[in-house]
Symmetry: C4
Subunit: 246 residues, 4 copies
């Protein structure tokens, strides 16, 4: 049995074992990643977590190299969805290690968790992931337009509230950039309550923006849901059609 | 008339009376359960509520045993939707009674309220419940993927905000676990306002996470709605088709 | 021309004029209703607003009596959508006038605004209203089940948070009824920030409840939207079918 | 080559170059518009930003005049979607320049950003925009009814909460207009936390209004999403039908 059968295939005993080890490694990697933020641990424990992170990253690096080496079409793997996730997760570690003072990208290591769907244990979810990808593609342009409209609306909302509130609450609506924070928190309906309008004009503006905004911000999620529902339906119909033809 | 006709059937007079008594008992059980939390009641009243709870639980236990005894396929009942609800509601009481100091599961007794749909008075809602179950099954894998993606996104959001805010607000973003609370409150758009980012980096991170998150967190509800709408449509078409064929 | 032609029909000159007067009266009635809450007005002005409200209610009472008198099927009108709205709006005034100390129902006078859709100026919206009614009927049972599930979930959420938080924050989670307020504010994702969990257990409970809740609370709106979309589609297909047959 | 080919067409070299210059100008115009709100800049820089705004507005005015002059059907352009956006963006500047003390409409200049979709670089998004427009038209009447119902609900919510809270919190629920602010913040589920009910009656009222409101406020976004999904589907079917006929 050669290396390729172990790394690339999941229908051999060794291949499944390799998949399962990677799966466990991904799940295990969450532990030191999380615990290293708990600074109340003693120095010794923090050193253990850091060491564990180094071991894990070495193993992931070996796995990544193995995947490229054994791949028949190397660029196809590197540019695939899971290839990109692997690369981003690895780079986020190495960049942080070398330029951590400037740029801390550790958060993106967690992207690797999405790899769980690629292992054979989750084959049925892998199918669902493919359907989701197709649904996203389906309404991609419309979602992009709504996303851009959201950005423009955020900017208009921020410009408007700056005009109404900057004189009354200069510490909160200092510039249009400060006002953008209010716009994000309001249009997503999070509403922390750290910044809110107190003038009559600002409140009417908030009302107008929210009426417009709720019909824009929530649409992409709705598009994904209906697109996905349609993709499932088509697949089912195709499956039924195929059965009837047999 | 034997016991089986009373407990299992709802098309006999005694069966309907049994159903109606259980229905009233379920509704009545809410009263002592709720009032026992009002500690401003006198000790005597609290004792009355506790006693009422014991009486009710004895009645429910008898009913549960009766249902198993009279069922033709006992395991089928125990593992059915309402069988599991009954068991959880009973166990939540007994566990709390014996190990209440360690584990208080009383909240789950309220699950029993869902049993109302199983009584014959609500037959039409029982049908709707079946359709909902079918709609949930329909997009189950996709919903699971989105749920998992939500969990990963929450983790990434928490890791990122920890990086930006932990130094400036150490009391609120102490560890990644504290930051997870912020992530939950923000991505569900609840936004209590107890924790929110104050650095520029943390605010931009919140913006990015919300743009991604709103297209992920709201999708499962949309999937259920469209799946359900489709299930209703198919049933109606089938009904119409049947009529036309007659 | 008799009274019936004026009140009941909208295809005569006098009927249209009657409709338009009612329309203006409805819109005008908002002014004294709103301004009477501005207590900073002088006593004289408040008396003017009160007087205007009496005049308006007399006119609406006359209109309601006229509608019943001229209706061919009187009970059909009284029990129709707009008949009930008229009655509720009138009763809310009279009840408040006589038992205002005990029961203030003035808010419901505003329901009359929905009557605008019944006037001939808004005929196309009347059609849309009919479609909405059909869409609501379409998924009525499912929506009722989700509404009931929401109520049960609110109760379970309140019972759970009471268990976790009542000892630490007794002033906010005093009884299960106080906790219900938290449950409502949280599950609707309003999140005022007046009550929120501070224990680890309470926060995990909030997370679990929100994950479940977001897939339940938002579904009815989605059901209405998809049902409505389907109703529009069917109508359009029927219209096209009719054209093709001509 | 005449002026018309440059301004109106995008299939000539000069036309594309013209389009691209306008595109860059639109993006560039955001910079001085945003930075002019950062009052911590020195007077000199603020003067530079103001000057840049004047230059940009002169260029946009020239472009607008050119578009009208070279248009074959001048009114058709002026009343088109992008013609109206251009006019509003220009007028918002000139109105602010001359009556800025009274009326500051600068926020609406940002509407011009929507023009990006009209340039040939974004042809595919232009198509998506057309589909969105069709989807909006599709459920226009229903969305209008829901919007109006939202307004009536906001008013009823405000009248009700005024009744419950105005005596206890006179500074926050002073008049029905103050209460409307609470209604807007609550029904959109933003929930800043600056105003919230504290009486039992006010809280039950909030619960009732939210149960009704969540089934109304979120529907328009759902209508747009399902309508859009349907529009995409029809277009795809038409495309497939065309292919089959070939």
């Amino acid at each position: 049995m050669n290396l390729q059968d172990i790394v690339q295939r999941s229908d051999t005993v060794a291949g499944r074992r390799f998949d399962r080890i990677v799966l466990l490694l991904i799940i295990a990697s969450v532990v030191p990643m999380s615990l290293s933020t708990v600074t109340s641990f003693s120095q010794m424990w923090l050193a253990v977590f850091a060491a564990a992170e180094y071991v894990i990253i070495v193993l992931f690096t070996i796995e990544y190299v193995l995947r490229i080496v054994t791949a028949e079409r190397k660029w196809a793997y590197i540019l695939s969805f899971y290839g990109v996730i692997d690369l981003v997760a690895l780079l986020s570690f190495y960049v942080t290690m070398f330029w951590g003072g400037m740029l801390d990208l550790r958060a993106f290591r967690a992207l690797r968790l999405l790899r769980l769907f690629s292992t054979f244990e989750f084959a049925r979810y892998a199918k669902a992931t493919v359907r989701i990808g197709r649904a996203l593609k389906y309404a991609r342009d419309e979602a992009a337009v709504f996303l851009f409209a959201t950005l423009v609306l955020l900017y208009i909302a921020a410009m408007g509230i700056y005009h109404f509130e900057s004189e009354v609450q200069p510490e909160k609506f200092d510039t249009v950039f400060h006002s953008l924070w209010w716009a994000v928190v309001t249009l997503t309906t999070v509403g922390y309550g750290d910044t809110y309008p107190i003038t009559v004009g600002g409140r009417i503006w908030t009302f107008v923006i929210l009426l417009l905004g709720m019909g824009i911000v929530a649409v992409p999620a709705g598009l994904i849901a209906t697109g996905l529902s349609r993709a499932i339906e088509e697949e089912r119909r195709a499956a039924r059609g195929g059965e009837e033809e047999d």
